[in-house]
């Protein structure tokens, strides 16, 4: 038996841990958050409670579930189902388009800022205008069809159909899918990937076993960031779907336009259930990065 090991048994079993993270902590900085806390209570939490109040009461302030149950009306139910279907499809398409793009961009030499800017830049052209421009592109006599006609190719007739709405959704929310995935991918340590290759994994295995699992928080954020606005839009359907296609967002907007606040709020509560589920999923995957993977 080694004597030096005997000695080790004398050191207490629970060694004191070095305290604190290396992150900066300014003493007495708590008060700095007071304006924000007040703001959050006043303009985030209370407004949600107000929706809750309107959604669960009648015009005569009596409690009721009718406003929420208005979702069961066949027309409303159909618009919800349609919205769920279209936003689900557009989210999947977004993911399929965004992931390869994010991967290619994450390997690029000139990092981060420039790439992020290229993706954000279209936002400086108004979102409504960009959507309206798709009318131009997609119309029967629009740009795309003119080009197709020139090459004697079959015409593309998707304006005023659900497919045009999906395209509009993909177009508008693709950046929100690309950025979180890109942000996670650039943070992956190159040596982790190299280690996987070193241990004999081929390109596909490395992707499936290492890169994709590590990028999952970004993927989840991206899905939420694309799914929620697609599910709740009323503008895209209005501009690209013609007047015949109504999504749940259109229904709610109409209710408010005609002053039917209680029903509108009730239907909003139904929407919020889906949003809450999305949030719960995000926060589950986002625990460590604390919101970082969103941007």
């Amino acid at each position: 038996m080694k004597l030096r090991n005997v000695l080790n048994t004398k050191t207490p079993k629970s060694p004191l841990q070095k305290k604190g993270s290396s992150s900066i902590r300014i003493r007495n900085s708590k008060w700095l958050s007071f304006p924000y806390i007040l703001w959050m209570i006043g303009f985030i939490i209370i407004p949600i409670l107000v929706i809750l109040y309107y959604g669960l009461t009648n015009t005569d302030t009596s409690l009721t579930l009718d406003n929420v149950l208005a979702i069961l009306d066949p027309i409303n139910l159909r618009s919800l189902r349609l919205a769920l279907g279209l936003s689900w499809k557009s989210t999947v398409i977004c993911l399929l388009l965004a992931y390869p793009l994010a991967m290619i961009l994450s390997k690029a030499k000139n990092k981060s800022n420039f790439i992020v800017m290229i993706i954000i830049l279209p936002m400086w052209m108004n979102f409504l205008l960009r959507t309206i421009a798709w009318q131009n592109l997609l119309e029967r006599t629009g740009v795309i069809n003119t080009v197709l006609k020139f090459f004697n190719l079959p015409m593309l007739n998707i304006i005023n159909t659900p497919n045009a709405i999906i395209l509009g959704m993909v177009y508008n929310f693709l950046p929100f899918m690309v950025l979180p995935i890109y942000n996670v991918l650039i943070k992956i340590d190159k040596d982790i990937v190299n280690a996987a290759r070193d241990l004999g994994a081929n390109g596909i295995q490395t992707f499936l076993k290492i890169i994709f699992p590590l990028s999952l928080p970004g993927v989840i954020s991206g899905i939420t960031m694309a799914f929620v606005p697609s599910l709740t839009t009323f503008v895209i359907s209005n501009i690209l779907g013609g007047s015949k296609i109504t999504l749940i967002g259109n229904v709610i907007e109409q209710e408010f336009r005609v002053g039917n606040w209680h029903v509108g709020s009730g239907l909003s509560l139904v929407l919020m259930i889906f949003i809450l589920i999305s949030m719960a999923i995000v926060s589950k995957f986002d625990k460590e990065s604390e919101g970082n993977s969103l941007w």
Binding site: R25, I26, L32, L97, P122, F127, L129, A133, P229, E290
Partner: protein, 261 residues
Amino acid sequence: MVKKITERFYVGLILFFLYAPIIILIVLSFNSSKSRARWGGFTLHWYKELFKNESIMNALYTTLIIAFLSALLATIIGTAAAIAINGMKKTPRTIMVAITNIPMLNADIVTGISLMLLFIAMRFTLGFSSVLISHITFNIPYVILSVMPKLRQLNAHTYEAALDLGASPIYAFFKVILPDIFPGVLTGFFLGFTMSLDDFVITYFTKGPEINTISTKIYSEVRKGIKPEIYALSTLMFISVLLLLIIINRKNADKQTVKKK
């Protein structure tokens, strides 16, 4: 090599997809025909008309003022909050971060409606202030999420070193912490500005009848046809931002090459 070409092609395709509508809008701004369906020849007419059109210029003014003020106030509130959150213990920090995520993850339509209902319930007249408050609300999270990572990267000891050398906490903050987190603060400001500029839905619900931003002005014209002046305005805004970004990028590139030497 083949892989590289495929990759480039793919990126090009996606960028084309993202920028095609923008090209269309720029082309339309030079279209002498009032209908957006027909090309009537090149003109700069709409650019001249734009500056004479009072309602569009008013909307532009409102849009820019709201974007600037909301981004500025959100930056101040958000940066302060980020510093405080960063110093918090785990549980309160988690709660704060979760609440910060609400406006980012919530649907615009729900945020817009909830704020509108709040303002009406409080007998607060819908107008400039209500839009400004709403924009600050959805901008703060962008600032916090931009500043937080920078705070975490800070060397914990630089602040203490400043105190050690005799600086008061406030002096130390402005001299040592702020310069280090400034890129994050700036990013937060620009993100907020952009989000405010591009917002339609929340503005739509909280603006009241008296004022218009570019977005709500466009929406009101969707059915009757967009005025070509709007295309001209958007083109001008887009081009100016594009130029700004190119200049910034050049400067950064220069800085980097200097550093390498």
